[in-house]
């Protein structure tokens, strides 16, 4: 068991390392290379040509004249210390921009994912319990319909109707103007008010798929012998429903959590742009628009790290719920 956790932890670091290396490689492939735009900007600002390289090194943690392996080592060392250089467009250290953005993205993704799980599991369980009922058919129909709606369509429509037409919700930002950040009521309500539409559009489109999956799993579990045995033993319905059926039906969903979280985190690029919600995705998009490569790679790395950590936590807790996970590997043929 301890071996499994050790391996899993090592894999997390390896993954982050590989993705960081990948981002270094991609920067090199970017059109015009990583420095041409910056060099042009600096020259236009009147920086003497002899100092341009030094300025670039200062801003991006990469010395353009150094050999490739040295550039790589410098880049990785800086990234390891949380230093992603300076944003070209915003003129601020990338790490500071990201530090401001991360909490909002995590907030939206976490809240919507939890809501999706809770509602999806509840709906799916009730459907399975009343399999074939009118309720089951209705919810199945609605689920399939919702599954075919991309979240950004809901987002645009919600923004159009509730923010622009009716004016019930703000059209941009994370908190109202003049609201002080801190532990106070005004801040919380303002934050919730701003996050309501993004969370709503993220959640409503995800529930359907989870409900259908939970329904299918529960029906399958209900047909198992051990459920029948539990009934014959005279266990109470609630005990069977929670201990026997729900637990075994939720387990497969838990592994799907990994993929779900990845889609959610990645999707923030679209979601946050629609709502002008300055989180990680929003900055990644704006960096893209302004060819701000340091900010773009910084947000990409941090989004990936967030996903890796999320999956890591999910994996560790999964090992606790389901002891089968840490069983050994199969024989080689």
């Amino acid at each position: 068991m301890g071996h499994y956790y050790l391996r899993r932890t090592a894999r997390m670091f390896v993954t982050v390392f590989l993705v960081a290396s990948l981002s270094f490689g991609l920067i090199r492939l970017l059109p015009g290379g990583p420095f041409s735009l910056l060099r042009a900007n600096l020259l236009r600002q009147g920086v003497p040509a002899s100092e341009v390289d030094a300025r670039i090194a200062n801003l991006q943690n990469i010395r353009p004249d150094a050999p490739l392996w040295e550039q790589y080592a410098d880049y990785m060392l800086a990234a390891g210390q949380g230093d992603f250089g300076t944003s070209i467009a915003l003129g601020e250290p990338v790490s500071r921009i990201i530090a401001q953005a991360v909490p909002w993205t995590v907030f939206i993704v976490l809240v919507s994912t939890v809501l999706i799980f809770v509602f999806g599991i509840l709906l799916g369980a009730i459907q399975a319990y009343w399999e074939g009922s009118r309720f089951d058919q209705l919810v199945s129909g609605v689920s399939v319909t919702l599954m075919s709606v991309p979240f950004y369509v809901v987002a645009v429509l919600a923004l159009f109707v509730f923010a622009y037409q009716f004016g019930w919700f703000p059209t941009a930002g994370t908190v109202g103007v003049g609201v002080e950040t801190g532990v106070n009521m005004a801040f919380f309500t303002s934050a919730l008010h701003h996050a309501a539409l993004p969370i709503f559009s993220y959640t409503i489109t995800g529930i359907g798929g989870q409900a259908l999956a939970m329904r299918g799993n529960s029906i399958q579990v209900l047909g198992n012998d051990y459920v029948e045995v539990a009934r014959l033993r005279g266990l109470s319905d609630s005990r069977i429903a929670t201990r026997y059926v729900a637990r075994n039906a939720i387990l497969p969903l838990y592994t799907g959590f990994l993929l779900l979280l990845g889609f959610r985190l990645g999707g923030t690029v679209i979601l946050e742009q629609i709502f002008s919600y300055p989180g990680l995705g929003y900055y990644m998009w704006s960096a893209l628009e302004s060819n701000d490569y340091p900010l773009m790679m910084g947000t990409f790395l941090v989004i990936t790290v967030a996903l890796v950590i999320g999956v890591y936590i999910a994996d560790l807790t999964y090992g606790m719920i389901d002891p089968r996970i840490s069983r050994g590997e199969s024989d080689a043929y």
Binding site: L30, P31, L259, V269, F300, Y333
Partner: protein, 338 residues
């Protein structure tokens, strides 16, 4: 003197090809058709969802053909009055955009590229997943560990941001390349679940038999393992397709993917930045491309769920018991199940 070894070479002991000498090739083809194509098709067709799904996809295919054979006028600016409302004239049934482009022709002429993209993306995703999943699951050991480690890393990279960065880097315009790019790391999750299925299949006695007889690994994978995975793969093909629709349109809408031709996402982008968000008069400019997207994904989901039904053993058993009255039997099964 003929030895046993000689005979072994002449008669293949594999279940599907060497039943006995007097089964002709034609009869075998017939049986294959019966088992693998006709029966599943009947079960699939018996499901209302498959029928509706296929109908919807047929409409999109029709739209693509209309565009390819140029049966409907191509979209161009100022071909009509600006921002005409929908359902007001037969010339422009869905209305027009700010720059006077017929919305219906925009939507129709976007279809071929989108379908190409979807097919390329899902073929890529399922193809790589099958390769990785079966190889890792069947070979086990080092191969398994290496392939699964790679999958784990690939799976840990969030799809959309990766696609965005790759799109900026390589700037692909070809719909096929775009489709593959969008599903560039989709295979990892699917490959993992295929691997766990292979792990159970490979312990089956007929696989064991092939292995003992020294049949090569590629042949075992191809003949014994992959056919058993097909149900799962087919269903996931459809879901991979849906993912391409969602992701590609979303990214076109953001304006991050390079594009050379018209596209629902690009239309959405123009509508969005053209102020369709602020007035009801321009709402149709946003809504019709959205309907096109949702219709396509609804068709794919319905088809996927109907296919899932094909491989549901409960329905299949009923079918096998009484193949004459399949239609009524399966229909009865459907109503019971619902």
């Amino acid at each position: 003197m003929p030895t046993e070894a000689d005979e072994n070479e002449n008669v293949s002991w594999r279940s599907d090809s060497g039943v006995s000498a007097d089964v002709t090739r034609w009869e075998r083809a017939d049986e294959f058709f019966e088992e693998r194509i006709r029966k599943p098709a009947i079960v699939a067709w018996a499901d209302r969802r498959t029928r509706i799904g296929l109908l919807i996809l047929g409409i999109y295919l029709g739209m693509a053909l209309i565009a390819v054979f140029d049966l409907y006028r191509a979209p161009s600016t100022n071909q009509a009055t600006q921002l005409a409302g929908p359902f007001q004239s037969w010339d422009y049934p869905l209305g027009t955009t700010m720059s006077g482009v017929d919305l219906l022709s925009l939507i129709i002429h976007s279809t071929p590229d989108i379908l190409l993209m979807i097919i390329a993306g899902s073929v890529w995703a399922t193809g790589v997943a099958v390769l990785v999943g079966t190889l890792a699951g069947y070979k086990g050991g080092v191969v398994d560990r290496v392939l699964m480690s790679i999958s784990d890393v690939v799976m840990a990279i969030p799809g959309l941001p990766l696609v965005i960065i790759l799109a900026v880097t390589f700037n692909p315009k070809n719909p096929i390349v775009l489709g593959i790019l969008i599903n560039i790391n989709y295979w990892a999750g699917l490959g993992r679940s295929l691997r766990s299925q292979v792990l159970t299949i490979r312990e089956d006695s007929y696989v064991e038999a092939s292995r003992t007889m020294g049949v090569s690994t590629p042949r075992i994978l191809q003949k014994d393992i992959i056919p058993n995975l097909m149900p799962y793969v087919t269903v996931n093909f459809v879901f991979a397709a849906r993912y391409v629709v969602f992701a590609s349109i979303g990214l076109f809408f953001l304006g991050v993917l390079p594009y050379s031709a018209q596209n629902w996402g690009v239309t959405l982008n123009y509508a969005y930045s053209g102020g369709a968000l602020f007035t009801w008069e321009a709402a149709h400019w946003l809504i019709f491309p959205m309907i096109a997207i949702m219709g396509l994904s609804l068709g794919l989901i319905l088809l996927g769920q109907g296919m899932d039904r094909v491989f549901n053993p409960r329905v299949r058993t009923r079918l096998a018991e009484n193949s004459e009255s399949t239609r009524t039997k399966t229909d009865a099964a459907m109503t019971e199940d619902h």
